[in-house]
Symmetry: C2
Subunit: 421 residues, 2 copies
Amino acid sequence: MAKKNAFYAQSGGVTAVINASACGVIETARKHKDKIGKVYAGRNGIIGALTEDLIDTSKESAKAIAALRHTPSGAFGSCRYKMKSLEANKREYDRLIEVFAAHNIGYFFYNGGGDSADTCLKVSQLSQATGYPIQAIHVPKTVDNDLPITDNCPGFGSVAKYIAVSTREASFDVASMSKTSTKVFVLEVMGRHAGWIAAAGGLAASADCDLPIVILFPEVAFDQAAFLAKVKEKVEKYGYVSIVVSEGVHDASGKFLADQGLKDAFGHAQLGGVAPVIANLVRENLGYKYHWAVADYLQRAARHIASQSDVEQAYAMGKAAVKLALAGKNSVMPTVVRTSSKPYRWKVGEADLSRVANVEKMMPKNFITRDGFGITAKCREYLEPLIKGEDYPPYGKDGMPKYVQLKNVAVKKKLNDFEVK
Amino acid sequence: MAKKNAFYAQSGGVTAVINASACGVIETARKHKDKIGKVYAGRNGIIGALTEDLIDTSKESAKAIAALRHTPSGAFGSCRYKMKSLEANKREYDRLIEVFAAHNIGYFFYNGGGDSADTCLKVSQLSQATGYPIQAIHVPKTVDNDLPITDNCPGFGSVAKYIAVSTREASFDVASMSKTSTKVFVLEVMGRHAGWIAAAGGLAASADCDLPIVILFPEVAFDQAAFLAKVKEKVEKYGYVSIVVSEGVHDASGKFLADQGLKDAFGHAQLGGVAPVIANLVRENLGYKYHWAVADYLQRAARHIASQSDVEQAYAMGKAAVKLALAGKNSVMPTVVRTSSKPYRWKVGEADLSRVANVEKMMPKNFITRDGFGITAKCREYLEPLIKGEDYPPYGKDGMPKYVQLKNVAVKKKLNDFEVK
């Protein structure tokens, strides 16, 4: 069999450690030059494959590739683009095969979440449908932690650590100010459908660090009276409270709290976050002074406070993907298999993509306390190992982290232009 | 002279390193037990002195006091309370002397910004006015970096590092997403009057890390047309842009941009931040997809990414305050004196409080680029040393920073109650 090249692409929202997976893929492929030729990366994800905009990663030094391990974001560019079914979109799948064939690509590594697992599954079926030999391996990544089978998703642990640490720090701050000033701090976090990230706010408090934390999960319909009573209870006991609110919190009718129909002085609709809505609610009903923050991209880009577990697993998933390819596998995804929580032990597993695509893993019900505002011991046991350890990037003399910006040299095009519709 | 006790209090908004100053004060005082008795801390700042709510720091172990160096927030509680002039508020100053006398307090260490320097100055004048011997020393602290004479203020360097690092990280993130999704990221930072913190966003880009950053300073009247043109220029060149906006940005008439008269569906006024206002402006006029974040307390509490320079200086200021007291000084503040920028060298200086109180240090005009949207080389030369070095807190096996919560044992009261009006 002639030596084939590999294609690698990043998909969807990026994370603090998706580049660590890229590093795992490329470094491992470089160790198997007898079997894998070059690794071509898609510029801006699958769009790069469709438009034949490939990046030749062999032009990057070993040092630059190694630096991907500590660089947040998607170094080759990502995209939000979900391919339709083979039947509905034959044109694009044909084009993929055309590009793969033109560049002798036999391995397809797709690094993303649920949507991209679905795309990867479809690509894996191209082999049979078209006769062109391609092995498609999905590399798990999502801050939402909602992929099934794998114990957790690379990207989540670092967001969780950021939210847990930031909530602890802000809680210390508001505690200091609460006598004469701010009594309530509200932090809005990501997670439209699942409360995994919000749950991480619960780690701010621990057996050796007593802090009042109230969590608003998207899994729990917002009950204003119960919420205000809980806030009042905490402030009366501690003098202050921190509220961690998921962007996806909604009421019993399904209406997002963030969607308050805000209008500015000119009558234009304004998109606000849910944090100011919660803060105003507290002030209007309880009269407490508040501060609020919206972490947004800061939470998923925060490589400076990445979890060591997360970085190691992200790298391991990239490495395992290449190993699976070398073993002749197709239509699979490496997974994290937890073998023990205390002490934390895990190993690399393997899942069929057909069991991964289009399945969303929700938080188990027994991870949320009965009152709906906190995390249970079971949840803590699950989360703690995922934020374990620190993996600091190197810093320059200027006090800034040394994140790599790749050269991203384009591979010479061989085909006609193709329009992505 | 009989050995006197010391009083220490934290004032105003807390920082990631104000406890490092407390650590410097207490550890240094403990080394001079022949001259300084106990260090009593005011519970919730000066309120604690007025209400005779004193904390006996001698009840804390050496280990707990050492841990203050890496613990953000104000460990004894802070307050927002500015004492009026001696003439207007004789009742409170008399009360202070009463409390000092009852607890044999001869040293007054006040850790805060401009307002507290003014209070400290007034306390320093009590000696002469009342005949009760008290030495008042101000310990500089403010994230706003607006105290005069001192080259910089402890607390600022760590916020600056947080903003610089976070802006770099978020810029990498939006760069990855910009092809098909988000092209503009807006980060709102603190600084109502002075743009020091916003300026730190400019450090995200550097000679070895090219990133498009647009800064909106409170010093520069907001010019919508010029701003939108700058955003467009950056997006057309780079594909994306990061905007760092100070909460204090206002138009030529002085109106804060954050003050947009937002109303919710029920007609209630909503307090939003300036970040969503800027983001909406960009979308409505240029059509770019955006994300926005408001760092709020996260920025000033972020001890996990504190600047080493900042931590060292905060500690040094606390230590120097005690040394000044031992040298018989009154009405002074230790300062940071920069002796060289490259390499960075500094020493401890001393300033008369009369020259510090009620003077606000603004950003020099030549720190802002002519177009009003960036920082100059001079500004960079000033800022870089202040974010130099990392000083990580210790972490537990649970992946969380080990911040100390003190016992804060109250000193037995000897006086009647006093009402703070």
